[in-house]
């Protein structure tokens, strides 16, 4: 057979060799890309490129500050920008938490045996997934502006919660001088103590569960952990002299004081993001559950689990493997979509950036700052989710 081949194959011409062609193609490609890039760089006027303008005084104020108090007259532009970043991050964190809850509940409800519940969940998804987020955000904001009473006619719920179109005021823990005049940083100590007790309690729980698996004797792991945590919290609270107190809001004149105010702008952005993203997460959750083999449900029923146990112990843990990557994507979208704060008087990083650009020019530098900020937040989010993914999901052996 081998003799049928020509005794010596003629050398393949260079032009037909795969490696050469790949090399040549890439060469041409790189040359063209470099040309385009050079053209762009030349057309952009880069003579004044630089970031020193960010250090000049801001000369504008930024609204919706929380836990920070920065005025724009003495502070620099970059400081004001960081205040905007903090506002964005806050909104993104709250919206992610809420939309996850909404998404899981609605996603599970879509698969409910109850016809009405399943239909309601579908209605929710179809409405909020198919409407522009911008319109949702301004709609919620309009409801606040038009639908809520003036602060003069504030709705008081037991003098603890107040609702008006200035926002919702709720009680909030604040540092307190406490029993023997502890300095305010004791509050920080207490938070640290809380964290330590939480870690200790979680470890104890894990140990007890291990024991439970080995011996088969119930160890009440959850109850013991809870008691441990509560004990840690109470003892440190007393030792530090009640460093934190819950502050009820009051209405003083035309604004809220004490407590915490959830401002309508923040609420509109977060509610809009929650409904919109929640409807997407619901679809992800539904798809994740539906991808599981039916046998899982049947097996769970066969061993006599309740519907709740079936969901939390069997279905969701397995579905998470498919859900988490898509949900991470949705979280990154929340981060980017938070720029819609521009439409509702909420001073997020994007709006502050446009204000700076309006005062100082330097659009290219400002865009650079914007995209780096968004990418950094996205990177942090995906890092957290990857960590979570590696810890929580069920691995196939």
């Amino acid at each position: 057979m081998a003799t049928a081949l020509p005794p010596e194959a003629a050398p393949v011409p260079l032009i037909h060799r795969r490696r050469f062609r790949d090399f040549a193609t890439q060469g041409v490609y790189v040359a063209i890309t470099a040309l385009v890039f050079a053209y762009v760089l030349v057309s952009l006027d880069l003579r004044e490129f630089g970031f020193t303008f960010l250090n000049e005084p801001a000369a504008f104020n930024v609204a919706n500050q929380w836990l920070v108090d920065v005025d724009g007259v003495t502070n620099s532009r970059i400081t004001m920008y960081m205040v905007g970043v903090w506002s964005s991050v806050r909104a993104v964190m709250v919206a992610i938490a809420l939309s996850t809850i909404v998404g899981v509940v609605v996603g599970v409800a879509r698969l409910s045996n109850n016809w009405l519940i399943a239909r309601l969940a579908m209605l929710f998804v179809e409405i909020f997934r198919n409407t522009p987020l911008l319109v949702q955000v301004v709609l919620v904001y309009s409801v606040f502006l038009v639908g809520m009473p003036l602060i003069e006619n504030v709705i008081s719920i037991g003098d603890i919660v107040f609702v008006s179109n200035r926002g919702v005021a709720i009680p909030w823990p604040v540092p307190n001088s406490g029993l023997w005049g502890a300095p305010h940083w004791f509050a920080g100590l207490w938070v640290l103590a809380l964290l330590i007790s939480a870690v200790v309690a979680m470890r104890a729980r894990a140990r007890r569960q291990e024991l439970e698996r080995e011996t088969g004797v119930s160890q009440n792991a959850n109850r013991r952990a809870l008691i441990l945590f509560a004990a840690g919290a109470v003892i440190s609270y007393v030792v530090l002299g009640a460093p934190v107190w819950i502050d009820a809001p009051i209405v003083s004149g035309t604004h809220y004081a004490e407590g915490m105010t959830i401002e309508p702008e923040f609420a509109a952005l977060v509610i809009g993001l929650t409904l919109y993203t929640g409807s997407f997460i619901a679809e992800v959750v539904r798809a994740g559950i539906q991808a599981l083999p039916r046998g899982q449900t049947e097996a769970a029923n066969a061993v006599g689990l309740s519907a709740y146990q079936r969901l939390t112990l069997v279905i969701l843990p397995q579905a998470l493997r498919q859900i988490i990557p898509s949900v991470t994507n949705q979280y990154l979208n929340v981060n980017k979509n938070s720029s819609l704060a521009y439409a509702v008087l909420y001073d997020d990083l994007f709006r502050v950036a446009t204000i700076v650009q309006n005062k100082a020019g330097h659009a290219l530098e400002m865009f650079f700052v914007i995209i780096v900020t968004y990418m950094a937040i996205s990177f942090l989010l995906s890092a957290v989710m990857n960590f979570f993914n590696s810890r929580v999901t069920v691995h196939e052996v």
Partner: protein, 355 residues
């Protein structure tokens, strides 16, 4: 299949060509406008009296009349204007710089820093006002010193934003700012979200005057800045700036000289004096023929502007009218009236001599 692909590609190319037709940049802005046959005028679309969009999609208001006057002067057709939305204060100068608009007539304040740092030049002021504060009558605020911790709505990207920050630093008080688009912050104020709305007094007055519950609001007699509102053009386009400038001066001069939309034709046919004849660009018997046009704009450009929209007083009466009364006294700068009257009647409008 090949032929079909080619056909579709050709269609795309044609559509692209249609989309991008025109607009090659030879000569100055005046030539560009005349080639295009249309003036691109950046205006507000959400402020009552000055510039807002009506139900049929047309834009009306005080600023709009100046766009029409300029179009009449340059293009001999007051309706050859395309109104571009420049409502967002943060992006308006960019629209000018990237030639999306030819002229910005959008209640824009002349300031030194804008003149120096941004790519903008200002023509003659069309409206003199100052920054004021609007509050509800029952709010108990009488001056800014009462406004400690108040929520103040202010348009972002404007001089007013900076003024109010400076002012509160000067009087040593803090406040809670709410910034956004001019229409959005006004909505927030009128729905009770903010205690105070600060903006140009003319802006405040225009928004309050048209409301059914106008009597519930007041504008404080405290003015914290000067806000001369003027048309903006791109830097270093002297001919175009001159045209815009002299159209505005011409309309003011017309009011001083008693030339109206109704009598401009008659006066042009039979001018009563040399000054009017020169303004209207017509010969006067016994005098020399004035030829005060520009390279590409003939000497009758002010006459056309007046014929299209009337003199300054007529524009004012037609668009703003009694909503912001012309007080004709310099002291009026302190209240919700305007000082935009001719100099001879106690106002501060002063047309430069046209000769």
């Amino acid at each position: 299949m090949k032929r079909l692909t080619l056909l579709i590609l050709a269609l795309f190319a044609l559509a692209l060509a249609v989309a991008c037709e025109g607009d090659d940049e030879e000569g100055g802005t005046v030539a560009t406008i005349q080639d295009r046959g249309e003036l691109l005028c950046g205006v507000k679309q959400t402020q009552p009296l000055f510039g807002f969009k009506e139900a049929d999609g047309s834009v009306v208001g005080f600023d709009i009349e100046f766009c029409k006057a300029i179009a009449a002067a340059v293009l001999k057709n007051a309706n050859a204007v395309e109104y571009v939305d420049a409502s967002d204060a943060s992006t308006r100068f960019e629209l000018l710089a990237d030639e999306t608009i030819d002229v910005l007539i959008r209640t824009t304040t002349i300031t030194a820093s804008r003149d120096r740092e941004l790519e903008v030049d200002f023509a003659q002021t069309t409206f003199y006002t100052g920054q004021g504060f609007a509050v509800r009558k029952d709010s108990g605020y009488d001056t800014t010193s009462d406004m400690a911790e108040a929520t103040i709505c202010v348009q972002t990207g404007t001089t007013t934003e900076q003024n109010v920050a400076d002012h509160f630093t000067d009087i040593g008080l803090t406040y809670d700012p709410k910034g956004g688009l001019s229409a959005d912050v006004a909505d927030a104020f009128f729905s009770g979200r903010c205690d105070v709305l600060t903006a140009d007094a003319s802006d405040l007055a225009s928004r309050i005057a048209v409301r059914p519950d106008a009597a519930d609001y007041k504008i404080l007699p405290q003015i914290i800045s000067k806000e001369p509102l003027a048309p903006g053009v791109r830097d270093n386009e002297s001919e175009w700036k001159d045209v815009v400038n002299w159209v505005v001066h011409g309309l003011i001069a017309a009011e001083e000289l008693g030339i109206t939309q109704a009598n401009v034709a008659g006066m042009a046919a039979n001018p009563p004096g040399t000054e009017i004849a020169r303004l209207l660009g017509v010969p006067f018997e016994g005098g020399s023929v004035s030829t005060l046009g520009f390279d590409s704009v003939d000497a009758q450009f002010i006459q056309r502007a007046i014929a299209a929209v009337g003199n300054y007083g007529e524009i004012y009466a037609r668009t703003i009218g009694d909503n912001i009364p012309r007080a004709c006294t310099l002291n009026a700068l302190a209240i919700d009236k305007s000082v935009d009257c001719p100099a001879g009647e106690g106002g501060i409008l002063y047309a430069l001599p046209y000769r």
